[in-house]
């Protein structure tokens, strides 16, 4: 039973990691990346490492998407203001 | 006399702080693994700090 769970979680992690790399737009990439972060925490739990899972959950589900989205917003604003001045 | 001008407001503030404290202290007692005296003391202090912060946070948000 445990093997089936491991296979399911590993397949999901592999699929979402591939999907993250395949996205072109950074904002959409951040969405898939947050999904991958939550799934990695589940993978660590399945592998009996809940302490690693806790930190992965905090970093992967909130901090990484927040940083990426803030950078994307700043880059877009700068591009828009440069368009406006030129 | 100005000090005692609004006893109702003071009472309301104290009541809100007390409500926050009770909720947070109960939450602490539910979430810890073993209940002993040290945990109770630490939980009561943290709940007091949290109650002040929660009231400040509630007053900072305005609903339009």
């Amino acid at each position: 039973m445990s093997d089936a769970l491991t296979v399911v979680v590993l397949l999901l992690v592999a699929g979402s990691a591939t999907a993250t790399v395949a996205q072109r737009d950074p904002a959409r990439q951040a969405l898939v990346l947050s999904f991958l972060g939550v799934l990695l925490a589940a993978l660590f739990t399945v592998f009996q490492a809940p302490d690693v899972g806790l930190s992965q959950l905090a970093v992967g589900s909130v901090l990484t998407p927040l940083l990426i989205m803030l950078s994307v917003r700043k880059v877009r604003r700068r591009a828009r203001s440069e368009e406006g001045t030129e | 006399m100005t000090r005692r001008a609004a006893p109702r407001a003071v009472l309301l503030a104290a009541g809100e702080l007390l409500a926050w404290w009770v909720v947070l202290a109960l939450l602490w007692l539910v979430l810890i693994s073993t209940v002993d005296t040290l945990e109770r003391i630490v939980g009561a202090s943290c709940a007091a700090v949290g109650a002040v912060l929660a009231r400040a946070g509630r007053r900072a948000v305005t609903w339009r």
Binding site: M1, S2, A4, L5, V8, V9, L12, G15, S16, A19, A22, Q23, A27, R28, A30, L31, V32, S34, F35, V38, L39, A41, A42, T45, V46, Q48, P50, G53, L54, L57, A58, S61, V62, P65, L66, M69, L70, V72, R73, R76 | L27, L29, V30, L31, S33, V35, A60, V61, T62, W63, R64
Partner: protein, 152 residues
Amino acid sequence: MAVNGWILAATIELGGGGAAALWGVATGPPARRVIAQNMTTSAVCPALLLLAQGYGRPSYVDLALLLALLGPVGTLVFARLLGDDLAGQQPSAWALTWTAAGLGAAVVLALCVAGSPGRATVKLLVIGALLISGNLVASRALAGGFRGVRGG
């Protein structure tokens, strides 16, 4: 490990919910993607609770608690910072939201019935309440329900 119903339930829940959320978050318009990202929390959090019960480790419940707390925060980040892409469309899927809430409530109730009553039961109920209320708040924020709230 012996055949364990809780782990079987967690496998089905994680496989089904995870695959659906992955498909939704990786394809389609931005509105559908943020909804799927919001549903990730509702899919994975009950699976973590079932895993904690299946492994017989009550401390694993903390992961579900943290996810129930942080998942909606992550969705709120997207609702706030993805406003340009979501302008004009109101991403809302209330049938899906209430289905996910019902799933979380069913799992929490099943675990409460299975375990002996005590502080662990209250903790499970707190996690369930956090999960469902966070889900509803995040869904309402995505649908544009909190445009009027500002810090003062």
